[in-house]
Assembly symmetry: C2
Homo-oligomer: 386 residues x 2
């Protein structure tokens, strides 16, 4: 079940408080993957602790947008904990469960500003009361976690006898003012918390963690999954992982497509690296390069910058073996310019999606990352918080 309301965290009055809960309010196996930022926000600290003390069980996720509740000290921790208590009490309605630690919390917005608890306290009973099991209720939740997103992001993936539903906001490191990505997945599959966590961690590694724009790691990034088991189907871990990965990959692509300020999405693919780790490091260096991103904004196939980033990525590298292609057209081979169809490259660069393929000519390591261009829009979005 889900729901979403406007409680007044956002000055503009938009939807800003969402809930995802099991149908009967009872805790089910759950898992989470959180930001690696050591300045982790209060909701991240609270959710981590709750999953730990319950051994991976949760009945609900409460989410708010407009304030990150990060760098807010002990008051911020108390606020996040109180949100879980109020939701647990509302769902339990006198029953012993869910307990507060069966509720997880996600928040997104500006860092360093005390969370206005007045609006939150008023909104929590409303969103608990409003929750419903239909698509419309899910859409309300997906909308209430949006910040700079222009469209809500929801996806359903069908497995063999089970399904995965998921929503996300963001933004990742793309959507700037509110630099946070949140995603909540639910599935009716049966799965133990440990299996669920392993599947989620692999899914995140291959999707959200392969999306980068500015290399900034948010204080609030959180991906959660709750497995109700209502399908009665217990998929093999691989099948469960595949379904979660499918949902996460679709959401990651939706985030890149909706990245505010971006005019292009680029897939940076590195092959021929000495190892997969080298390939990922090289692809990340290229994908995060401000100069490469500026070239994308100008639709300029300046491969020299790509080669320069590969050479400074800290991976095994031999310039004489490097090849670079845009949209399948090789522009650099053996480390020097290659004669090519310039019109074909220009047409590819002018499109919304650009493919940059780099072969290091050294081994079998491969990796691919999603990124965007860097243009006026990113500056406009990020120069002030007002």
């Amino acid at each position: 079940m889900a729901g979403g309301v406007a409680c007044g965290i956002k000055a503009g009055g938009g939807p800003d408080l969402a809930l995802v809960a099991t149908a009967d309010g009872r805790p089910v196996p759950a898992a989470g993957v959180f930001t690696a930022n050591l300045a982790a926000a209060a909701p991240v600290q609270v959710s981590r602790r709750h999953l730990q003390v319950t051994g991976g069980r949760a009945a609900a996720v409460v989410l708010s947008s407009g304030n990150a509740n990060a760098a807010t000290g002990s008051a911020g921790l108390a606020a996040a904990a109180e949100m879980c208590e109020v939701v647990a009490a509302g769902l339990a309605a006198g029953a012993p469960e869910p307990r507060p630690e069966h509720v997880l919390v996600c928040q997104t917005g500006l860092i360093g500003i005390p969370l206005p608890m007045g609006p939150v306290r008023a909104g929590l009973p409303a969103v608990v009361a409003q929750r419903a099991g239909d698509r419309q209720a899910a859409a309300l939740a997906a909308r209430a976690i949006m910040t700079t997103d222009t469209v809500p992001k929801e996806v359903v993936v069908s497995g063999d006898g089970f399904s995965v539903g998921a929503m996300a906001k963001g933004a990742a490191m793309l959507a700037p003012n509110m630099a946070t990505m949140l995603a909540v997945l639910t599935t009716d599959a049966e799965a133990e918390p440990g299996v669920l966590h392993g599947a989620l961690a692999r899914a995140v590694a291959g999707s959200f963690n392969r999306l980068t724009v500015d290399g900034c790691t948010s204080t609030n990034d959180t991906v959660l999954v709750l497995a109700s088991g209502r399908s009665g189907v217990r998929p093999a871990p691989a099948a469960l992982g595949e379904a979660l990965a499918g949902a996460c990959s679709q959401l990651a692509r939706m985030m890149a497509d909706d990245a505010e300020g971006a005019t292009k999405v680029a897939v940076v693919r590195v092959t021929g690296a000495a190892s997969d780790a080298d390939a990922e490091r090289a692809a990340r260096r290229v994908a995060e390069s401000q100069l490469v991103q500026c070239s994308l904004n100008g639709a300029d196939p300046y491969w020299g910058r790509v080669v320069s980033e590969l050479g400074s990525a800290g991976v095994a590298f031999d310039l004489d073996r490097v090849a670079v292609a845009y949209g399948g057209v090789t522009v650099c081979s053996g480390g020097i310019a290659a004669a090519h169809d310039e019109a074909a490259v220009a047409a590819h660069m002018a499109g919304r999606t650009v493919e940059i393929a780099c072969d290091l000519g050294l081994g079998a390591g491969t990796a691919a990352l999603l990124t965007t261009d860097l243009g006026y829009g990113y500056i406009d979005e990020n120069r002030t918080t007002s």
Copy 2:
């Protein structure tokens, strides 16, 4: 002696070929520090080899702008070597020295485009013939290495009985299209090549390597020093190092001030880190953050982004101990917002130079880095090479 001419590498016809040479054309102790990029340009490879085979002696440096001669393969290496041969022959005028390996070469400009050797061949005899020992000749050289620089960068530092003169272009990773920094220092001090190299390496570490804008490491970065010994003074290594460091620091600041597209220069200072290495890593993370740089562009004292970068810098970190100040006014203390004089902070942010001080509250490690803001100008400069 020095000189600078327009030979025709630059399409616009601006000065693009420079020479720095000893007064009598004889090799003197020399040292160099080069880019760490594994896609090192041909001139970097040639200069490195020349310093190696001569054991650190050089008679001249030939520099060109408008083409980086990087990712140009064996033809590029042959071109850079030929430049040294022609200059050596011109300076030697029939004498056995300087040999070609006594000439070093620096180039800056676009990557991946074959160097037009016709103009270079025509220009080399001209710049050799034109060389002179006065300030005007030095100014011509400083002008001929400019790319997106708006002013030439020269500096003189006086030691105890000796002096250091230096010129630089750039740009570092700041001045985008031609992402290269070059610097040539000369001194009349006496110094063995090993002492010279140690002093130069320390000077570069504390100056050019503490300047970062986009974190991109050029294929061509080169800093060279030639020590003629004509003062007859052999300074203590520490005194020599201090003079070189003074010259490099002044040039680094001039580069930041002249960074095209930038409207502000920021000094990011980290104190209280567990070690100096941690402090530098944290300062670099903050200084290179696109989000922090965008806030600088908007004069927005959004310290939450600074804290977020500190927390993801990969260093020892405890949010509860973190303090952040802009221009000496503390805006965050104990990891949360601190009441402060907002007008004073706004006035500081509106200025050309912004000071961001971060205290991690953990130890005695300190570091400071120079950076700039990220605004429309950077995009304009970098979106296309045309």
